[in-house]
C-alpha cells in the first residue's frame, strides 16, 4: 500500500486547525515560555540550573505533549466528530494518504508552536546553547511521535483527548518518573533519550539510551500510522439505526 502526501487535504487541514484565530491561542503558551525565560534571565544572571527547569519542565513536559495532543487529535478527530470527514472519505484517496497528510500537518504545526519556541527560549537563556539545541531536536522528535500516536487515538475513539490527557498526565507524568519500566512506553522518554544523547545533562532525567529511543520511536510512529490507516479504511458511520 503506498501512501503519498496530499496537498489539497493538507491545505484544508491547516485552515481548519488554524482558523478562527486559533493560531493565536496556540501561540500563547509559546509566548509565555519565551516571556518567562526573559523574565527569569533578567532577575537571575547566573547560578542555579533554572534553564533545565523552564525548558524541560515547562516547555518539554507540559507544552510539547499538550500542544501535540490538541493539534494531533484535532486534525482528523474534529472532522470525524462533526461528520465532515465523510466528504473526504467519499473520494478514491487512499486512506494511508489521508493519515499521512494529516499527521505531517499536525507534526509541523506542533514543531512550529512548541519546538521552535523551545529553541528560541533556549537560545535566550544564557550558558545553554548546547542544551537548547539538544532539547530542540528532542522536541522535533517528540512532535513527530506524539502526533502520530494522537492521530491514531482520534481514529480509534471519539474521546481521544481524554485518553490522551490520562496518558500524558498519569502515565508519563506520574508513573514514568516513578516506575522505571514505564519508560519503555513513554514518548517523553524517547525524546529525552535523543536529547540527552546530543548533550548529556543530568537534570534531564533521561532514562533511555540513544539507540533504544530511536528504535522505539520509529516503531511507535510507523506502527501508529499504519494502524490508523487500517482503521480508517473500515470507517463506519456509527449509531443512528434509521
Amino acid at each position: 500500500m503506498s501512501a503519498s502526501f496530499n496537498p489539497v487535504i493538507a491545505s484544508i487541514t491547516v485552515r481548519a486547525t488554524l482558523g478562527r484565530r486559533r493560531a493565536l491561542l496556540f501561540a500563547i503558551p509559546a509566548v509565555v515560555l519565551i516571556a518567562l525565560t526573559l523574565a527569569v534571565r533578567a532577575t537571575h544572571p547566573a547560578g542555579s540550573s533554572w534553564e533545565a527547569q523552564i525548558l524541560g519542565d515547562f516547555g518539554f513536559s507540559v507544552l510539547l505533549p499538550l500542544l501535540a495532543l490538541i493539534i494531533g487529535t484535532g486534525v482528523l478527530g474534529a472532522e470525524i466528530d462533526d461528520g465532515s470527514a465523510i466528504h473526504l472519505l467519499a473520494t478514491p484517496v487512499r486512506r494511508g494518504s489521508i493519515v499521512l497528510t494529516k499527521w505531517v500537518v499536525a507534526a509541523v504545526l506542533t514543531m512550529l508552536f512548541a519546538a521552535v519556541p523551545e529553541l528560541i527560549a533556549g537560545l535566550l537563556a544564557p550558558n545553554s546553547g548546547k542544551l537548547a539545541f539538544a532539547l530542540f531536536v528532542g522536541a522535533l522528535v517528540g512532535s513527530v511521535i506524539y502526533t502520530a500516536v494522537f492521530v491514531l487515538a482520534s481514529v480509534l475513539t471519539t474521546r481521544a483527548i481524554a485518553a490522551g490527557l490520562l496518558y500524558v498526565l498519569i502515565w508519563e507524568g506520574l508513573l514514568g518518573n516513578i516506575v522505571g519500566g514505564a519508560r519503555i512506553l513513554s514518548i517523553a522518554h524517547y525524546s529525552l533519550g535523543i536529547a540527552n544523547a546530543i548533550y548529556p545533562d543530568k537534570d534531564l532525567n533521561a532514562g533511555l539510551g540513544l539507540s533504544t529511543s530511536l528504535v522505539l520511536g520509529i516503531v511507535v510512529t510507523v506502527g501508529a500510522l499504519v494502524l490508523a490507516s487500517r482503521r480508517l479504511s473500515s470507517f463506519a458511520i456509527k449509531g443512528e439505526p434509521a
Binding site: 478562527r20 465523510i86 466528504h87 467519499a90 478514491p92 486512506r95 449509531g239 439505526p241 434509521a242
Partner: protein, 315 residues
C-alpha cells in the same frame, strides 16, 4: 452497467435490527427509498456507500463490494444527510477541492459545471457558513456530482429546501436519471418520491415492504380496507343499514358502545355516511379512522403484500 445489488442484507446494532433481510436490485433511473423515520433508509444508504458493513448478506455495486473499497468512489457520489461541510471554505473552494481529490484532469471546468447544474453560481464565492440549509444541500450535491458519477446516493435531499429549490432539485434528478445514471434517494414524504422516481422501494421497520412501480403501489394502498370507529345514537340500526351497502366489507360491535366498520371504498364511504345517517334518522356522534398513520399503511403493505414485493423487483 453497474447495478446495486443487495442480497439478504441485514444490519444490527446489538439487539436492534436496523435492516432486516433486504433483497433488492437498483438499476438506472431514479429510485426512491420511502419509509417512515427509523425504517432503516439511512442505514441502507450508508451500506451502499461503503460506510457501513452489512452484518449479514452481500452488497455489491457492479459486482464489487463497496465496503473498504475507496476505488468505488470514482463512480459513486454521496450526499449525506448530516449538515456538516467545511464551513470555512467557499462553495466553489469546496467543490474544487473535491474535484482535486477525485484527481480529475480539469478540476476547474468540472467545478464550474457542477455548480451550474445545481444553480449555485450566485453564491459560490460566499463561505459555506453563510449558506442556508437548502443551499448547503445543493452544494453537497454539486460536490457529489463533480466527478460525473454513474451512481448518486442522496439521503433526504429535500430536507430544508423551499418549494422552488425542491422543484429544481427534482428536475435535476430526473434529468440525471434519464441519462442512465443510477439515482437512489431516500425520503419519508410520498409526494417527493412520486414526482421524481419511477421505481420506489418502501421500507418499514428495517424490512422491504413494497417495491416496484409507484402507481401500482399507490393502487395497492388505496385499495386496502379502511377501518373506522363509529359512534351513533342507534348502532344496531346503523349496522343494518351499512351491511346493505356495497362498499362495506364488515361491521363489528366492539362492545364498548361503538361500531367498527371495514370498508374497501374509502371515498364512497366518506361521501355516503352523513347522508345515510340523516336519511335513517340516526345522529352520528363520532367517526374515527383507526389506522390512518403512515406506519399502519406501511405495516399493511408488509403484512399483505409480500407477494407483490417479490413481483416488483428491479425496474
Amino acid at each position: 452497467m453497474s447495478a446495486i445489488e443487495l442480497t439478504s442484507v441485514s444490519r444490527w446494532y446489538g439487539n436492534v435490527v436496523a435492516v432486516n433481510d433486504i433483497t433488492m436490485t437498483i438499476g438506472p433511473g431514479v429510485t426512491g427509498l420511502l419509509g417512515p423515520n427509523g425504517a432503516g433508509k439511512s442505514t441502507i444508504l450508508h451500506m451502499i456507500a461503503g460506510f457501513l458493513a452489512p452484518s449479514k448478506g452481500t452488497l455489491t455495486i457492479g459486482g464489487k463490494p463497496s465496503w473498504e473499497n475507496p476505488e468505488i468512489y470514482r463512480s459513486l457520489g454521496l450526499v449525506p444527510e448530516r449538515d456538516s461541510v467545511y464551513a470555512f471554505l467557499t462553495g466553489e473552494q469546496f467543490v474544487n477541492a473535491t474535484a482535486k481529490l477525485h484527481k480529475l484532469p480539469d478540476p476547474d471546468a468540472a467545478t464550474r459545471r457542477a455548480i451550474e447544474m445545481t444553480d449555485m453560481a450566485a453564491a459560490k464565492d460566499r463561505r459555506i457558513a453563510t449558506y442556508s440549509k437548502g443551499m448547503r444541500q445543493r452544494i453537497k450535491v454539486a460536490a457529489a456530482l463533480v466527478h460525473d458519477p454513474e451512481i448518486l446516493l442522496l439521503d433526504e435531499p429535500f430536507n430544508g429546501m423551499d418549494p422552488r429549490q425542491r422543484l429544481h432539485m427534482m428536475d435535476l434528478l430526473g434529468k440525471l436519471g434519464a441519462e442512465g445514471r443510477v439515482i437512489l434517494f431516500s425520503s419519508h414524504i410520498l409526494e417527493e418520491v412520486e414526482k421524481v422516481s419511477g421505481t420506489i422501494q418502501v421500507m418499514v421497520a428495517g424490512r422491504l415492504a413494497a417495491s416496484g412501480d409507484f402507481r401500482a403501489i399507490r393502487r395497492l394502498m388505496t385499495s386496502r380496507p379502511h377501518v373506522f370507529n363509529v359512534r351513533s345514537s342507534d348502532d344496531r340500526k346503523l349496522a343494518a343499514v351499512l351491511v346493505g351497502r356495497p362498499y362495506t366489507n364488515a361491521v363489528e360491535f366492539t362492545g364498548r358502545g361503538s361500531l367498527q366498520v371495514r370498508t374497501s371504498d374509502f371515498g364512497a364511504f366518506c361521501a355516503q355516511i352523513a347522508v345515510l345517517t340523516r336519511e335513517n334518522g340516526i345522529a352520528l356522534r363520532e367517526l374515527l379512522p383507526t389506522d390512518e398513520s403512515l406506519e399502519s399503511v406501511f405495516g399493511y403493505l408488509i403484512a399483505g403484500s409480500s407477494s407483490s414485493s417479490a413481483q416488483g423487483q428491479g425496474s
